[in-house]
Symmetry: C2
Amino acid sequence: MLKIPPHQVAGHQAGNGKLGPLVDESGRFYKPLQGDERGSNELKFYTSFSSNSRILEHISKFFPTFYGTQLIEASDGSGLKPHLVLEDLSVGRVNPSIVDIKIGSRTWAPEASEEYIQKCLKKDRETSSLPLGFRLSGIQIYGNRESGYWKPERTSMQNLPAEEVKLILKKFVSSNTSTDMDLQPDCAFAATVYGGSTGILSQLLEMKAWFEDQTMYHFYSCSILIMFEKGLALEGQNPGGQIKLIDFAHVIEGRGVIDHNFLGGLCSLIKFISEILTDPNEHKSLVSSVNGIN
Amino acid sequence: MLKIPPHQVAGHQAGNGKLGPLVDESGRFYKPLQGDERGSNELKFYTSFSSNSRILEHISKFFPTFYGTQLIEASDGSGLKPHLVLEDLSVGRVNPSIVDIKIGSRTWAPEASEEYIQKCLKKDRETSSLPLGFRLSGIQIYGNRESGYWKPERTSMQNLPAEEVKLILKKFVSSNTSTDMDLQPDCAFAATVYGGSTGILSQLLEMKAWFEDQTMYHFYSCSILIMFEKGLALEGQNPGGQIKLIDFAHVIEGRGVIDHNFLGGLCSLIKFISEILTDPNEHKSLVSSVNGIN
């Protein structure tokens, strides 16, 4: 029995007769293959990556498992359509807090079409991609049983200045419920989610080490998902913080060069998370604390 | 007595009635203050940086010492003009090999004028800046007493593919003279120039660690100079490999965010140098050795 994924925070979404991904009860995620070259490119990437013997487990764990393609009934009622069959990343999660972060100050590959480049460049300049090296594409933060999720409009997340992005990344690991998100975040779970030897920061650093070295793929317009279970954190258990890379419709060959665009954005995100860990209660604005040029 | 710098490989150059930098015999380098905001911006940067107590010596050593400004006779005969007074980086060098590498896949700041952005974007796309994250802006490689320097056209260096850039960075540390630059580079001095605890790679990694952390300045359109003395290397002495950052007309405030654009390009350059050190005699093309997407 296929259904609409309950925890999707960004990307095309099924429902109301629209085309979007579906999940089943066995833990598989069915992503419609986009009809244009985005679909064939994403399939090409998954096929290459999943059979690449140079990708070791400590890196492949950051990617959804790929199970091939399958014809299934599309969510928009248009009949049988080819779908990528992937691991459902939300399996085993009860009330996941999730943020989708599109990495890179540039979301377009040099060889993309002029029309596509201009469209992406415009969006990169209008959002925080250009100044920050990444943009928040979507988020849901679990509050508690009563208040449920805080899930702001996706478009409202994309062009925030540095201090606002930092505030959101603090809220993400705070005990504030969804009804008191306007209060100062307490960063109650920063240490257990972002910190520690298996926490988010450690995982991001492991990913960074790979990006400093690998010259096989350039990941334009990919996202890092950060997920954890606030319910477990509230009970004092390991909150299961995890990062995953998703969305590979614009991956190209690296041709012997590292993905400096992704790496730069990743390092910027790492700096934000590090600062929250180092100084979770720093409340003054970032800007005023910087001894800048003037 | 002011004269034209003998070892400039990029940027505006004096001579033939043109405006360009001059040097004196006391080790100072006089750079004409550009009349527009580039001049005032570069002066603002040097003033801020040289008085910034958060810049420690292990970082400030990568920058030319700043001695203020001075009115001197401009090289184009236009009379007294304000000049930045800087350290002459070639002091003490006899026959320096020098490469000027403009760092970053993007040479424009988000807040630059639309006209300037379009001009830079065009050049970034036409050169290796976009694919590689840096471009070679100029080079001179000392051969020996007879053959002198190999100093190719600057424009011929800027849009080379990865494998050609790697070849140039190999030639840079090879014993080939300027008349046999077409031969396969022997990388005879790779270990002593690029390698070792005080070599170029170590210095680049020290600079990288700073860029992963500092959120004070964003260095658009800056160059890293890499210099050493082949004459000393030929005699088995320490070749004095050194990196310096130059050209700060487009530095802006960091506003609490790391310079992910510079950092990405720097990491890309580091990867090139690392590969040459790891495998100096790898002769096959980079492209064919990559198990890419296809």
